[in-house]
Amino acid sequence: MPHAAPSTFTGAVDVIAVLVLLTEFAMLRAPMLRSQVRLYAFQSLVVTALAIVVAATRHIDEIYVLAALSFILKVIIVPRIVLRLLSRAEVSLAGSSAFSVATMTLIAIVMSVFAFFSVGALHLQSTALPSAALAISVAVVLVAFVLIILRSDVVSQAIGFFSLENGVSVASLVVASGLPLIVDVAFLFDLLVAVVVFGVLMRIHHGRTKTLSTDSLDRLKG
């Protein structure tokens, strides 16, 4: 079966999704916590751009509202909260990992390839659907897992979770753009609550251990 050339929409969505994934890889290798937060803000900006593209091509006005809200929350408020915490904590380096940056990147590449093959195995044949973007969003989620598992400080882990949410957002924009606005707003509100709670717990952690490292969190086992 000959493949038709991708439409402009599919091309644009795929390019943006690839940008989100590349940012995720950049986070994986960023040694400074501040640069990690900035990368997260950039990634959120890219996701907002994706929302605008989807809204414009599919003529769904509600998604403009969603784009505006996600810009305010994920590009401005969340990075602000985390950066303020960082300046209070006076820690700048991310926690060291058990693996070198090269190994981590390699693991992340393996995970991404796995994501592509597993989504490909689903045989989602749909004319309107950029299925490459769906595979990329699964890859973003898996690389976020790698980030959270291998980094040993609370800020990286929290940022890893927020960027995982960005990956799910990409999937949601691509395959579920018709979700009622109220549901999308509820998702964002949830994210805000989660950010506040993560912030509180990070402060409690820093207050007790005077570090942001998770190395001391090994008392409970068995």
């Binding site: 599919r58 769904i60 689903l122 045989h123 989602l124 309107a128 699964v138 989620v141 976020a144 897992f145 959270i148 609370v154 882990q157 929290a158 979770f161 995982l164 949410e165 799910v168 999937a171 949601s172 395959v175 579920a176 753009s177 018709g178 979700l179 009622p180 549901v183 509820a186 998702f187 509100f189 949830d190 609550v193 989660a194 709670v197 993560f198 509180v200 717990l201 409690i204 952690h205 007790r208 251990t209 998770t214 001391s216 969190l217 008392r219 409970l220 068995g222």
Partner: protein
Amino acid sequence: MNHVLLAIVIVPVVTSIATWWTPPAISKVVTIGSGIALFLLALALIPSATAHSYLAVGSVLRVDALSVVFLVPTTFLYATTSIFAAGYLHLPEGEAGRRYARRFFVGLNVFCWSMAVAPLVNGLALLWVMIEVTTVISALLVAIDDTDGATEAAWKYVILASLGLGIALFATIIMYYAGTRFFGSSYDPSYNKLLSGAHAFPKDVVRLADVLAVLGFGTKMGLVPVHTWLPDAHSEAPTPISALLSGALLATSFYAILRFFQVSVRCLGPAFPRNVLLIFGLASLVLAAFYLLSQRDLKRLLAYSSVEHMGILAIGMSFSAPLAIVGVLLHVIAHGAAKGTAFFGAGSVARKFKSKDMARIRGGVGLLPWSGPMLVLAVLALSAMPPFGIFRSEFLIVAGGLSDPRDAIAAVLVVFVTVAFFGLSWFTTKTMLSPVPERERLRLGRGETSWLIVVAMAVGLVGLVILGVHVPGQLNELLQHAASQLEVAR
């Protein structure tokens, strides 16, 4: 019945706001009142939930028999836990005590609100939102004691549960996508809508959604291998919170899995969703049974018992007999009451001995004349001894399993439930029924730390005996009705 439904949503909110302002003594009373009111409201929903296939208020709230089955144990634990907490909390004098009490009671009420509303919202997306709320609120409550252990447990809990919920969100989006093939690109993912079209959803997509949902919500439910946060959080949290986490919150996550199960069964037929639950259920039961043999911490022991019981629930859902499904739903209620009561007893013991370490607790029954024996009874109830509710529910599950073509699984279930029984009874016998060392008698004295703890435990045990001896007629109808909603309509 609409006003009852609205009252369930509103009462805890009002209580949370009130407890922000009231002094600790009044907060205790208000919270107890709110808990009892909510339990009575939940009971009031039973007849109409049985009579109708569902009731809806607007597009956001919807209640059917399955929702009420989960609402009953949650509100029961809300009531008993607030009684227990009133007796258990030892607040420091002055401003510090007031601040702790404010955080604790506001948090407790919001937490119970979120768990009570989760089964009432309409649709998988809103359900996910409510379960995320339960997570973040309970993570704060786990950390509230501000000890090293609590901080560590809260961080592990919030990270792992959030990762699980990230997967569950993905599952929700995928399930929505499955629906777009039938309903067009924009639709409201309410339960009625999803269930009505599920037969035409693309099968591969629904399979993916089902597995991701069991893995994602299973993280919060404590299914092996994604249970690792559970023993930490449940043992390090303040005991009233432990009781709610184990007795009610795990069940709420199970409810979310059942909603995905309902849609998946309509689309795929029963075999695939059942097998997914069977794999996770067996892993949980087997691993937890062995971990129960090697615990030193009383609350950790109860936490692993929760993993075991969640495994039993998942295995029960994998049996085809309707009897087993009724057993699973009864098990949700009975486990809530039994686990709550056991944690109340553990709290009483921990207050008395100032330790949760089972190597240091000796002669519990001798030193705690009421809560000691009641803790032993609660642990026997957890081990499925008659005449308590879990005996009946596990009996139904096993009886259903024996009539299943795969009856060997029922035999495996019985074997590992017995291993778990050894673990539980070995340690409680050693700590509770052993003779009181003379030194401890002089140091601690005989007597209860609070009569409210005794009341909370007695209420829990009475509930368990009622469930075990004779399930009230209306509750029985509710369980049958809910089980029929979970069955394959084909």
